[in-house]
Amino acid sequence: MISRSTAGKATHGQLRRHNLQLLLRGVYQGLADNRAALALHTGLAKPTVSELVAELIESGLLVEEGWGSSTEEGGKRPRLLKFVPAARNVIGLSINDERVLGVLTMLDGRMIAQHTIDLTGIQGQAIVPLVIDVIHGLMAQLDAPLLCISLGVSGVVDAAEGFVTYAPHLDWQNIPLARLLLDRFQVPVHVANSTELAAMAQYVFGLPDPVHSLAAVRVGSGVGIGLVIDGALYHGGGEIGYLQVAGYDDSPVAAQQPRLETVVGWPYVVERMHALRQRHGGSLLPESEGELTYLHIRHAAAEGDAAALALEDELCHYLSQVFAWIIGLLRPDHVSLAGPITDLGEALLNQVVRRTRQLILPEMTEKVTFSLMTSPHVVAVGAVARALQLELGLV
């Protein structure tokens, strides 16, 4: 959020907000469903719980519904409390060089509507009014009061200030995005790096079993990394496409140490596929570069197409280096691959994991799990997850 309290002793207001979030999270996460259980769970005094629950009911975030069982000693049956996901709506946006994609959701992440604008041929300041158009498109569909707006941008972002420092694919430099939108819409605005939000989406909504720490590597036109550590988004991630990696033996850049995004980003894939196709001949891939998609490469590789298999091998060579460094340095419980490259499927991921294991000590990877994040909405959904964390303390 763009304004943040300074460190130090909590004010009465901050303490009250903290306790409200504590109670709301208790009900949201199913840890307690009545006032007495909440007092037990949170350690707050019963009168305090009653007062704060009344405020949450008044705001529409909780509702009384049904009666619980009485205790073994008998006594009054407790009034059950239920979280109301429809009490507020959240707008989450993803901004990359291809499009602005917004989602309107309820508080449990369920999507009400999406709104998109294509950014083909549009760059720089001209994107900002289109971001506002997308927000307008979703505001027209609000089913409940708007809690906040949360955005993910492919680029270097100062999340504390909501400031986009540098987003080369958008031709953005020093855009005070949160301030611009706060002035316009008068609701809290949060901004973070896209891949950080992808990691958040996977942490909150994506995995069947909870993990403590998670890393997401997103590959599209560029490459980014997002980290969630003990439930908190770590803002030291972001774009890593400029990092140099060891070259691939057979590629034209073998002798150099190429920058990551120049060897795994989509523009390179198209160019490299063309060269490999000419070398291997008789390929199953489409003749026209404009028609080529990751799904074509996946299909051709599964059919044994030599050019497609060679390309996948190259991509695995580079991605496994990224995975190995992440695991070697951070020891995350889980690593996810995200972005358009996930259309290459589980076969690619399995190959990357196999190569990663060859690069680092076996005990470093044995407890790490891996996944693909295939949803096209992952950044926008991550933006919603972050909003729920910052505004209501739900996750």
């Binding site: 709104h115 998109t116 307008h136 498109g137 027209a140 569909q141």
Partner: protein, 268 residues
Amino acid sequence: MPALGIITNDQTAVFQRDVIAGACEVAASRGYSVIVDSIAESVRSPRAISLDLRDVVGVLALADAVPVDQLQAMLRRGIPVSLVSHRVPSLPIPAVFTDNVQGMAELARHVIADCGCRKPVYIGGLSGQIDGAEREAGFRRELLRHQISPDDAIYLQGNFDADTAAGAFQQVLASGHEFDAVVAADYLMARAALDLLRHAGRDVPGEVVVVGFGDGAEAQAAGLTTVAADIIEQGRRSARQLIGQIDGLHITGTTVLNVRLLVRKTSR
């Protein structure tokens, strides 16, 4: 009471009827009346648009009922317009669609992964219309995702018309081509194929799986597996988008609504 105009080619057709119902519901709740201009209820003698723009504060244009030059004229006059299941890339007019990509992905995944089909027949909509084009492109993508060459499927032109679809599918049946699934770009065309298969004594879903995009009473009655695009909801959301513009929100781009898979008796 201010009025919203709705221009459609045929207000009695299933899609248009449901969109209008949803739009009318929202309009009434927000204090607007509705004027419907239905220009092509007789396919052989469609007439020109007769809606007087002086009578309305905004216009919902269904599918491609309003030509581009008339949309331009509305914009010049400052009249808010929303398109329903249609897009004109050259004009800054917002639109509301159901999610063709997600819907077709769910249908194809169900047919291929859940039902084990590998030789589908695809009955397409109007190729020049966006819903038709996006659904077919989505179908082809999903075949690739599931290791089926898009060229191995049989493609028929159904034009979102049950009779046209039936005519094309009858020829496939008569030709003896081998297939194990029918995927149609709308449920009425799927229903037409289902009727022909049953008439021909083919076991559905044992021998052939049949699914269609969208959902309605006809699909439910036939036990047809579909992805449910709630068209009444699309009408409601379209009216909200239009009223949002009337209220001063500058909107461009496309609002997209989710769909969900409904597995019934025509698939396994």
